[in-house]
């Protein structure tokens, strides 16, 4: 496909205001086809793309060239319940995988909000997380093996159902996971599965101030019930929900925490009260909880609604993905608020609080160049502060071309050299996904 209209649809990912139309798009029918395409493409950048839900400008042709869209590699090839693994093609969608695993009583835990549409290939490429990763861990913790097509079209398996190194001396799959399409094209994965929790309880609590919110978070992360998720919404986020059609009567100027525990009924049922007590004793007068699917859905609803609501009220929003030591939460929130106020546009903040993974959303209009410039300035200052307090640039969205400029804040000269050596091994001319992760990764024909 090469017509301008056809390129338009592939010009951006979930970060819709930055567009990079490719020169051509290829949709291979299967993995062999994909390997053939890579082997014959010479002298053009190649960008692999799954469902294009990334929020960091990962699967876009930043330097033009060819986008290879893996939408047709969507077979779940095998589920092995005794071995607790499955074999899937890169274009398999997360929710469909979950539906396929449900009859076995098993699950693949990472749960990014884009689960209804995102692909496992994109998840592995960006080492995706999600709300329930606080206890269960992120994508990388569940990848047993990766099949990769390298630059010359050769196909290699790093790991497999057993999740080891295979015949290799080094564990190359570790470098592949989270490599954001800069090393090769993933075609197939072996994923670790785990039994579905027998039962879960969901809790929601609101707090008038940050100090009591923090007390609750600190109590939860140390609780022996090991909550699966600890989600925080700031007052702005709560107000957004409350002024929408999804209003549920939450106080608009309060922080809100949603948390969940799961496990065998015999364990979680006796933990309910003590978790509720942590939430209450931290200072909440409104702690609600339930174990029925409906109650749990309602309690989680406000958090789930966020992404869409942001879309409804703002032409564009920039979401950051910093991870911070939790003790720095107040400092960072204040910085976000001050910066947003100064720039004159609102910031709505949600957080995977257990992991310290902060998502401030700055609402702006990209058609006004001064707003774009302002929001990028804020991003930079925020990231500098995040790194200074011991945090990191990205927890689950990846670096893409959105945050690559900030990598110099994180890596010293020797560390940077170690990092840049990795693409030199597999992709020295930066044919795969140039300008991503590190800005010096520029393709030269």
């Amino acid at each position: 496909m090469t017509s301008p209209a056809q390129m338009a649809g592939y010009a951006s990912d979930g970060l819709g205001y930055k567009t990079f139309p490719p020169d051509a798009v290829v949709i291979p029918a299967d993995a062999d086809d994909l390997a053939r395409v890579i082997a014959v493409l010479k002298g053009v950048p190649i960008c692999l793309r799954g469902a294009g839900t990334s929020l960091s400008g990962g699967p876009v042709a930043a330097q033009g060239g060819v986008v290879i869209h893996t939408s047709r590699l969507r077979a779940i090839r095998k589920i092995c319940p005794e071995g607790l693994w499955c074999e899937v093609e890169c274009g398999v969608n997360l929710n469909r995988l979950d539906q396929a695993l449900a009859p076995y009583g098993l699950c693949y835990p990472p749960d990014p909000s884009s689960g209804p549409v995102c692909t496992i290939g994109g998840n592995v490429a960006s080492n995706a997380g999600g709300a329930h990763c606080f206890r269960y861990g992120v994508t990388g913790n569940y990848v047993l093996g990766v099949e990769v097509v390298l630059l010359d079209g050769s196909v290699h398996r790093f790991g497999g159902p057993a999740g080891g190194r295979g015949r290799w001396q080094e564990d190359w799959k570790r470098l592949m996971i989270g490599s954001e399409g800069t090393l090769g094209a993933f075609t197939r994965f072996w994923l670790r599965l785990t039994p579905r929790a027998e039962k879960a309880w969901t809790f929601r609590a609101t707090y008038a101030d940050l100090a009591s919110t923090e007390r609750a978070i600190h109590g939860l992360v140390r609780h022996p019930a090991f909550p699966v998720a600890i989600e925080l919404m700031d007052p702005r986020a709560v107000a957004l929900v409350e002024s929408s059609s999804m209003a549920m009567g939450l106080p608009k100027d309060h922080f809100m925490i949603v948390t969940e525990i799961d496990g065998p009924a015999a364990l979680v049922d006796r933990r309910v009260e003590s978790v509720a007590e942590v939430l209450r004793s931290a200072g909440s007068k409104d702690v609600q909880f339930g174990d029925s699917p409906e109650a749990r859905k309602n309690l989680f609803q406000a958090r789930k609604a966020m992404g869409g609501l942001l879309g409804q009220i703002s032409p564009d929003y920039l979401v950051q993905d910093a991870v911070i030591p939790k003790r720095a939460l107040a400092e960072l929130l204040q910085l976000i608020y001050d910066e947003a106020d100064q720039a004159g546009f609102p910031a709505v903040t949600v957080m995977h609080a257990g992991d310290g993974n902060l998502h401030p959303n700055f609402l702006f209009d990209s058609s006004k160049p001064e707003e774009l410039e302002k929001v990028e300035g804020i991003s930079k200052r925020l990231m500098e502060r995040v790194v200074a307090v011991g945090g990191t640039l990205s927890g689950e969205h990846g670096i893409g071309n959105d945050k690559s400029e900030y990598m110099g804040m994180v890596f010293g000269p020797d560390s940077l050299r170690l990092q840049l050596a990795i693409p030199q091994i597999f992709n020295p001319r930066h044919v795969f996904n140039p300008l991503k992760v590190f800005p010096e990764r520029r393709f030269a024909a």
């Binding site: 209209a5 056809q6 649809g9 209804p116 702005r236 869409g308 009220i313």
Partner: protein, 399 residues
């Protein structure tokens, strides 16, 4: 710790944020894997063209023509993008400017539905053939319609015999439904009357306009104006429709004056009289029309109504996904429609039960499912759910 900058106001027409939630539910994206052939892709192309960044080109026309119009993307969209509205407007423009040419038979049919009496008369032979058990086309499903008596006459006759005194509703009889599949209208009248509902059938009602909406042809406004007049002043609680697509189109037309409800949803709120349990091994698989769940945004068909059929039932797999009918999509894009149907109907081969009945609540979906007979190896029946609730003429008269 407070922020001063105010939150913006909600604007439902603000554009797509490109999150991609629509991809996985879009039948043409599932079919082709091409992102341009998805709501997110189409919206992007239309927006680029509107902003002058993209010239009008055949691929844009092609992707626009590929959309089934199932509106599953509206349900999936977290940002509330009114895709259906934007799509209809774009399709209409493409037809008006010659960028897309609907098939001739569709143009003729679109013209014909504007004249219900003529349309009814013209299709008399089809009703006659069906009533004799002959099916002139794979899309035409079996049934025994009255050839001459109209639904309006039939309803008047039964109203006089049974004299129900419950809620009063107007029935949308539809064009194709009345002209070809009248037996469904008759069954609807019987079920409503049996449940003590007073049925009014406004004489001068016409086509709901869905046909024009689907084809992008002119004339929707005239049909809507006619229906606004026809359904005005009958002192009814609501208009009921036995076709999800027609009901959706009429709802847009009447805009709540009076409200339009799907007949099954309406019956669900009444406490419907159940049919006796059906003995044996029969199993009903319920498919939900897109324009019921994604258009009218109903949760589905009420469980109480489905229980009242007396059958063992379950939802068909992927019941909220499109069957490929798309009103006239199966005529406009037969290959796509067939592939969508092939995937959706594959389960019937191994489905439990004998006989197996596929039940839905839209006649165009029934037509599409009927055409699956050449895809599915085993025999199966296609019914409207209202037909499974039908007491039958004799029983209704004798009770």
């Amino acid at each position: 710790m407070k922020q001063t900058a105010a939150l913006p106001q909600f604007d439902p027409l603000s554009a797509c944020v490109h999150c991609g939630f629509c991809l996985e539910v879009c039948p043409t994206y599932q079919l082709t894997g091409d992102e341009n052939n998805s709501p997110r892709g189409r919206l992007r192309i239309w927006r680029e063209e509107a902003a002058g960044r993209l010239e009008a080109e055949p691929m844009t026309d092609f992707y626009t023509s590929e959309c089934v119009g199932c509106l599953a993307c509206e349900t999936a969209c977290p940002a509330g993008v009114p895709y259906g509205e934007i799509f209809e407007k774009t399709r209409h423009e493409h037809v008006a400017t010659g960028r897309f040419k609907p098939k001739l038979e569709l143009k003729v049919a679109a013209m014909a539905v504007g004249y219900p009496a003529l349309f009814n008369l013209a299709l008399t032979p089809v009703r006659a053939l069906r009533s004799l058990g002959f099916l002139p086309h794979p899309l035409v499903f079996p049934g025994r319609p009255a050839v001459l008596e109209s639904t309006a006459a039939y309803a008047r006759r039964f109203m006089a015999l049974r004299k129900p005194d419950g809620p009063r509703v107007a029935l949308l009889t539809g064009c194709l439904m009345e002209a070809m599949f009248r037996e469904i209208n008759f069954a609807t009248v019987r079920v409503l009357i049996e449940n003590n509902v007073r049925v009014v059938i406004p004489d001068d009602q016409g086509c709901c306009g869905a046909f024009q909406e689907h084809t992008g042809l002119d004339g929707v406004e005239a049909l809507r104006a006619k229906n606004r007049q026809a359904f005005d002043g009958h002192d009814v609680e609501c208009v009921v429709s036995n076709s999800a697509g027609c009901g959706f189109a009429l709802a847009k037309t009447l805009d709540g004056k009076p409200p339009v409800r799907d007949v099954l949803g309406f019956l669900g709120g009444l406490g419907i009289k159940p049919r006796p349990r059906v003995a044996g091994n029969a199993r009903v698989y319920v498919d939900l029309p897109c324009h019921l769940v994604h258009g009218q945004k109903a949760d589905g068909i009420p469980k109480a109504v489905l229980d009242a059929t007396g059958y063992e039932w379950e939802l068909a797999p992927c019941a909220k996904d499109c069957c490929g009918s798309g009103g006239i999509y199966n005529i406009q894009k037969p290959e796509n429609a067939r592939e969508i149907l092939a995937r959706k109907s594959a389960f019937l081969d191994d489905a439990a039960g004998e006989p197996v009945i596929l039940a839905t609540s839209n006649h165009v979906c029934m037509m599409q499912w009927n055409s699956a007979r050449s895809l599915v190896r085993r025999p199966f029946q296609v019914h409207h759910v209202i037909q499974l609730l039908d007491p039958g003429e004799k029983a209704l008269l004798n009770s």
